[in-house]
């Protein structure tokens, strides 16, 4: 079966695994930074959109529609080429920064926009009566948010958040476009150097499938745990 072996071989598959796995942390790192910064940013923006003064609104809406209306690819390139220029005008020298920082920033900005819409709609889904009842027993708005509204909003947001999280995971593969070698990028370089790319991509595909399945299980478990609340 020599013909098929030209395109795919299990031994190459097994050989590629230890070459690829060291780069998994890069991918996970991007996801981690993007989610943590994105959740924070998204929550701030959501609350500003709901409660903030009117002059915030046009800027926030512009930011969100840009982030949601352009391809991630374009955003990474804009951040990578454009941010150093902006920073230079502010007197910050960004030339020595590791490329991956730009990736973190681009994904964090993107996540912030998407998550802000998820959070905003889920907060608005909590019946206003909940806040009114909290105020009527003497809680401050902040106390009401923290103890009553946000816990319920998070439960509502969980499915959308999970979907977004998985999409982020898949999206990190674009980092290679500016030369950051995450696991996807490594697969490409392996393919270039060994002339056999299929095994590497197959392994990555399997990794992503497993990761997505684990994430779905995690969110399912979280959803059950928050029930009867």
């Amino acid at each position: 079966m020599n013909g098929v072996g030209e395109f795919f071989s299990w031994s190459r598959f097994v050989d590629d695994i230890p070459r690829l796995l060291p780069y998994l942390p890069v991918t996970l790192g991007i996801v981690a930074y993007a989610i943590i910064l994105g959740v924070f940013l998204g929550m701030v923006i959501a609350l500003l959109r709901i409660h903030g003064q009117w002059f915030f609104q046009p800027f926030l809406r512009l930011y969100i529609s840009f982030m949601r209306g352009t391809p991630m690819l374009v955003q990474i390139l804009i951040v990578f080429y454009g941010l150093p220029i902006v920073l230079q005008a502010l007197g910050i020298e960004a030339n020595r920064w590791d490329k991956i920082v730009f990736v973190y920033i681009a994904f964090a900005l993107n996540e912030g926009a998407f998550l802000s819409e998820i959070f905003r709609s889920s907060i608005l889904s909590v019946p206003t009566g909940q806040m009114e009842a909290a105020l009527s027993v003497g809680l401050t708005r902040w106390q009401a948010y923290r103890r009553i509204v946000l816990p319920q909003a998070i439960r509502i947001a969980l499915p959308s958040f999970g979907t977004d999280f998985i999409a982020l995971f898949h999206g990190t593969s674009l980092a290679f476009l500016i030369g950051v070698v995450d696991i996807m990028g490594r697969a490409k370089t392996l393919g270039a150097s060994t002339k056999h790319a299929l095994e590497a991509y197959l392994f990555i595909a399997l990794l992503f499938i497993v990761a997505s399945a684990l994430l779905r299980l995690l969110f399912h478990f979280l959803d059950r745990k928050l029930s009867y609340t």
Binding site: P127, G129, Q130, E132, A133, A134, L135, S136, V137, G138, L139, T140, Q143, R147, I148, P151, Q152, R155, Y228, T229
Partner: protein, 250 residues
């Protein structure tokens, strides 16, 4: 105890409250009657600042307030003296019955947990829910939820409890149990301001009845005066619609 003067409130072009004066003394059980749109719910919500009145002054005991310009701290301190029972209960979905009742005490007043829970349990016992402390709202019937809502207001030991159509969202079989609790606390001397359509409550328990129509108080008096001897034409029309015969039977 509570004096309100000249309350005005409009929503856009719609003037809902056109100058309301109202006073409540300790121990009063005041019922506000009126058709939908008469402004009764809005009035209640202006009193505890869920709506901001356009104009109006209030005195809560010794404290004087402007209903339009009151600051956050003033509003918060007033809210601690007023209990509010909502038409659709508004129990905290993510808290148990006991937690619903104690939250205002532990978080709002920084009371220690054991003390708050003791008060909470007493309140829940009073409304007949001593076996439901750890139930979540979804696990309770409408009548039970509303009774928790009443317990929640009672636990705060407020000067006045405001009731916004407390039985309007309930199935007929459940109205009785809630009215029963309300009658009980009225007889114990709780000062209550109640917006309701339940005429039995107005006739049996209230000591004052106010009839509102289109944003003004048309008539007010004792239940006997209003129900068997209404003076204003609008009052008579309303009563004719609501009660086939509005004579006060002894």
């Amino acid at each position: 105890m509570l004096r309100i003067k000249n309350v005005h409130k409009s929503f856009g072009k719609n003037e809902v409250l056109k100058g309301i004066d109202l006073s409540i003394d300790k121990g009063d059980v005041v019922v506000i009657l009126g058709a939908s749109g008469s402004g009764k719910t809005t009035l209640l919500r202006c009193i505890n600042f869920l709506e901001k009145a356009d104009q109006g002054k209030a005195s809560f005991g010794e404290v004087d307030l402007d209903l339009h310009q009151a600051g956050k701290k003033e509003i918060q301190s007033v809210r601690k003296k007023l209990g509010f029972v909502f038409q659709n209960y508004n129990l905290f979905h993510n808290k148990t019955a006991l937690e619903n009742v104690t939250l205002g005490l532990t978080v709002g007043r920084k009371m220690p947990r054991e003390m708050a829970e003791e008060i909470g349990r007493k309140a829940l016992n009073k409304v007949g829910l001593s076996d439901r402390y750890d139930y979540y709202p979804q696990q309770l019937s409408g009548g039970q939820q509303q009774r928790v809502g009443i317990a929640r207001a009672v636990a705060l030991n407020p000067d006045i409890i405001l009731f916004d159509e407390p039985t309007s969202a309930l199935d007929p079989e459940l109205i009785g149990e809630v009215l029963g609790v309300m009658k009980k606390i009225a007889r114990e001397g709780t000062t209550m301001l109640v917006v309701t359509h339940e005429m039995s409550f107005a006739q049996d328990v209230a000591n004052r009845v106010i009839f509102m129509d289109q944003g003004v108080i048309v008539e007010e008096g004792s239940p006997r005066e209003i129900f068997s001897n209404p003076k204003e034409e609008r009052t008579k029309q309303f009563l004719r619609r609501i009660l086939p015969e509005y004579t006060y039977t002894i």
